[in-house]
C-alpha cells in the first residue's frame, strides 16, 4: 500500500468538517429566512471527492486505484418550481382583477342603500304618496308644499347617488393613473427587475449562482402579476424579458425598461386588457362602455323616464324640463318658489277641489320609472355578486397555487432541525476521525523505536 501519505486521513477528515460546517451554515441561513417573503430554501450540494490516484501495482493484485478523499460542496441550489411560479402568477392576475372589481362594486352597492328605508326607492314611494295626499286635498296648500319638499328630497337623492357613482369612477381612474405613471408600482418594479437582471447576468457570467437575487426578482414578478398579466421569457444570460398586460411592446428587455415612464394608461392599454388590477380598473372606468358608465346611463334613463312621465301627466313642467339626467334632475324652480302652482286639475277654471291631474300623476307609481330603478338595483347586485364569487374562487386558487409553491420552496423548521442534528453529528464524527488519525500518528511518531525502553 505504497503512495498514500500518512496525513491523507487528516485531509479527508478536514474536508468532512468543512462540508458539514457549510451544511450547517446553509441550515442557519434557511432558519433565519424562514419567514422572509419570496425566499426559497437552499441546499448545499455535496459530492464525494476522488482524491488520490494510486498507480498500477499499488494494490496486492497489481492493479491501481482511486482513493476517496472526502467531500466537497459543489453548489448552493435554491428549491424552486418554475411551473408553480407560472400558475401562481396567472392566478394572481385573475385575483387582482376580481379583488379590484369587488371593492369598487361594493362601494356602488353601499351608496345605493338598498333594499331599505333610506334608498332612492323609499324616496320614490314618499314622492308618489305625496301626490296622493295632494289628490286627497287639492285645495290644501300644505299638501302641495309637502309635495315640493318631498320631490326635492327625491331629486337630491338621485343627484347624490349620481355624484357617488362619479366619485367611484374618478377614484378608479386616478388609481389606474397612479399604477401606471412614472412613480407607480409597475414602472418601479420594472426598473428594479432591470437592475436585478444586470446583477444576475454578471454573476452568472462569473459562474456564481445568485440565489438571493433570483428570489428578489421572482418576488417582484409576483408583485407585477397582480397588476396585469405577465409573460416571462428567460434569456441565455440569466436575465428575463417581461411582456406585460397584453401590450405588444415588452415592459422590459434584459436590463432596460422599454416603456416610456410618462406614457398615460389610455395610450398604453387602448383596449381593456384582461386580468390584473389594471384590467379591472379599465373595465370599470372606460367611457363609454365601462361598468360605472353603464350604471350612470341606467340612472340617467331612470331620471329621464321619471321627468318625462311626471311632466306629461302634470301637463306642465313639474321637474325642470332641461334636467333629464341623474346629474341635472331638479324640481322646476317655479314650483319650488310657489308650490301652489302645482297643477291638480285640467278642468276649465281649475276648481279648487278637482284632482284629476294629481290622481293621474299618482297612478304613475310602480310604472316604467320604478321598474327601471328596480332593474338597476338588480343589475348592480348581480354584477357585484359575480365579482364576489370570482374573488372567492380566485383567492382559493391563488392560495392553493401559493401552497404548492411553498411546498417546494418554503422552509420547514422541522426539516431544518433534523438537518441541523445531521450536520452536527457529521461534524462530530469527522472530528472524531481526525483525532483517531492524530492518535495513529502519535503512535507512529512517539512510540517508534522505543521497543524495550
Amino acid at each position: 500500500m505504497s503512495g498514500i501519505s500518512s496525513f491523507f486521513g487528516l485531509q479527508t477528515s478536514l474536508r468532512g468538517l468543512l462540508a458539514q460546517q457549510a451544511g450547517l451554515n446553509v441550515t442557519a441561513h434557511n432558519i433565519a429566512n424562514a419567514d422572509t417573503e419570496g425566499y426559497s430554501r437552499q441546499t448545499a450540494e455535496l459530492e464525494a471527492v476522488t482524491g488520490l490516484k494510486l498507480a498500477s501495482g499499488a494494490l496486492a493484485g497489481g492493479g491501481g486505484a482511486l482513493l476517496g478523499g472526502g467531500v466537497d460542496v459543489t453548489a448552493y441550489t435554491r428549491a424552486r418550481d418554475a411551473f408553480a411560479d407560472l400558475q401562481y402568477r396567472a392566478q394572481s392576475s385573475l385575483h387582482g382583477d376580481a379583488e379590484t372589481t369587488t371593492s369598487a362594486l361594493s362601494a356602488v352597492e353601499e351608496s345605493l342603500n338598498e333594499p331599505g328605508t333610506t334608498g332612492i326607492s323609499a324616496l320614490l314611494q314618499k314622492f308618489w304618496d305625496a301626490w296622493q295626499a295632494v289628490g286627497n286635498q287639492p285645495e290644501d296648500p300644505a299638501t302641495k308644499s309637502a309635495l315640493a319638499v318631498t320631490a326635492r328630497a327625491l331629486t337630491d337623492g338621485i343627484r347624490a347617488l349620481e355624484g357617488q357613482l362619479t366619485a367611484i369612477g374618478a377614484s378608479a381612474t386616478s388609481e389606474l393613473a397612479a399604477i401606471t405613471d412614472a412613480s407607480g408600482p409597475v414602472l418601479q418594479d420594472a426598473q428594479a427587475i432591470a437592475r436585478l437582471n444586470g446583477e444576475i447576468s454578471t454573476a452568472v457570467a462569473a459562474g456564481r449562482q445568485p440565489n438571493e437575487l433570483l428570489d428578489q426578482r421572482d418576488k417582484l414578478l409576483d408583485e407585477l402579476s397582480a397588476y396585469g398579466q405577465v409573460t416571462i421569457t428567460e434569456l441565455a444570460n440569466g436575465s428575463v424579458q417581461v411582456a406585460f398586460g397584453g401590450v405588444s411592446t415588452p415592459l422590459l428587455v434584459d436590463d432596460t425598461t422599454a416603456w416610456a415612464p410618462t406614457l398615460p394608461a389610455t395610450t398604453l392599454f387602448a383596449t381593456p386588457t384582461p386580468g390584473g388590477k389594471i384590467g379591472a380598473l379599465q373595465t370599470l372606468t372606460q367611457v363609454p362602455g365601462g361598468t360605472i358608465d353603464a350604471y350612470r346611463q341606467q340612472l340617467d334613463a331612470f331620471a329621464g323616464q321619471l321627468v318625462a312621465d311626471v311632466n306629461a301627466a302634470h301637463g306642465a313642467p313639474f321637474f325642470a324640463p332641461g334636467g333629464t339626467t341623474a346629474a341635472t334632475i331638479a324640481v322646476d324652480p317655479a314650483i319650488l318658489a310657489a308650490p301652489t302652482t302645482i297643477r291638480t286639475t285640467s278642468l276649465a277654471g281649475a276648481p279648487a277641489g278637482a284632482n284629476d291631474v294629481a290622481l293621474g300623476v299618482a297612478q304613475l307609481r310602480a310604472g316604467a320609472a320604478d321598474k327601471i330603478y328596480a332593474g338597476f338595483v338588480l343589475r348592480v347586485g348581480n354584477e357585484s355578486l359575480d365579482a364576489q364569487r370570482r374573488e372567492t374562487s380566485t383567492a382559493a386558487t391563488l392560495a392553493s397555487a401559493s401552497d404548492r409553491r411553498a411546498s417546494v420552496s418554503g422552509v420547514s423548521l422541522d426539516e431544518e432541525m433534523a438537518n441541523m442534528i445531521r450536520f452536527q453529528r457529521g461534524y462530530q464524527a469527522s472530528a472524531r476521525t481526525m483525532s483517531t488519525v492524530d492518535e495513529m500518528l502519535d503512535t507512529l511518531i512517539n512510540r517508534t523505536g522505543r521497543v524495550g525502553l
Binding site: 320614490l124 307609481r365 423548521l413
Partner: protein, 309 residues
Amino acid sequence: MRITHGMAHRRLISDLQAAAERVDRAQREMSTQKRILKPSDDPIGAQRAILARGELAANAQYQTNVTQARGFMETTDEALDSITSLLHRARELTVQGGNDATGPDARKNIALEIDQIVAAVKMAANTSYGGVYIFGGTATTSPPYDTTTVPAVDTYGGDDNPIYREVGPGIAVAVNTRVDTAPSPLIGSGQTPGDTGLLRTLRDISDHLKNGTPADTEALRNADLQALERNLDDLSAARAGVGATIARLDAADARLASGETTATQLLSETEDVDFAQAALTLSSQQTIYEAALRSGASVIQSSLLDFLR
C-alpha cells in the same frame, strides 16, 4: 405534499379569517333579522323586496285614502239625515197649513217656520269635512249656499262636479253627492224655472202659506205635498247611494288589508331571516370558529424544537 411552517401559518390565518367572516355574517343576520343586507346578497330577492316595499307603501296610502273617503261619506250621510228630519217637519207643517181650520195668522207663523227650515237646510248643505265643503262639487273652498244675504238668495254656488278618491290602483270612487243636477236636483237652486229641488218646494209652500187664497190652500194640500214626497224619495235614494259607496269603501279596505298581509308576507319571506335557523347558524359558526382557534393554537406551537435536547 411537503408542509412548511409558513404554509401552515398562512392556511391557519386564512381559515380563521373565513370562519370569523361567517360568524360576523351570521351575527349581522341575527341582529338585523334581515337576510338581504345589500343587493348582491340576493339580487333577485333585493329587486323583489324593493317592488314589495313599493306595493306596501302604495297600499298604506290607499288605506289612508279609504279612511278619508269614508269620513267624507259619513259626514255626507249625517248632513242628508238632518235634511231628511227637516223635511219631515216641513211635511207636518204643510199638512197643518193645508187644514181649513188653520187661520191666516197661524199660516203666516207656519210660513215663518218653513223659512227657518229653508235656512237650516242651507246650513246643512254647507257642511264641511276637513275644510272641504262636501256639497260644492270641486268648488270645495266656498260654501255652496248663501246663508247671509237679505233677502235670501237660494242659488247653488258650487259646480257640482264629481270628486274622486283613488282607493286602489286605477280604482277611483266618486265621493260627493250631487245636489243641483238635472233632471231632478236634490236641493236645487230655489225658485228658478224648471227646478224641482227641495228648496223650490219649501219656498213654494212658504209662498202658498203667506198668500192664503183657496187656490194656495189647494196647492198646499195636493201639489206641495206631492213635491215634498218626491223630494223625500230623492233624499232616501241619495242616502242609499251614500250607503252603497260606504259599503264599496269597506270592501276596498278589506281587499287592501288582505293585500297588505300578502305583500308583508312576501317581503318577509324575501328578506327576513328564519330566526330559528339564524340562531342555529350563529351558534354553529361560533363553535366552528372556536374549534379552529383552539386547534390552530395547538398546531402552530409545536415543532421539532420542543422535543430536541
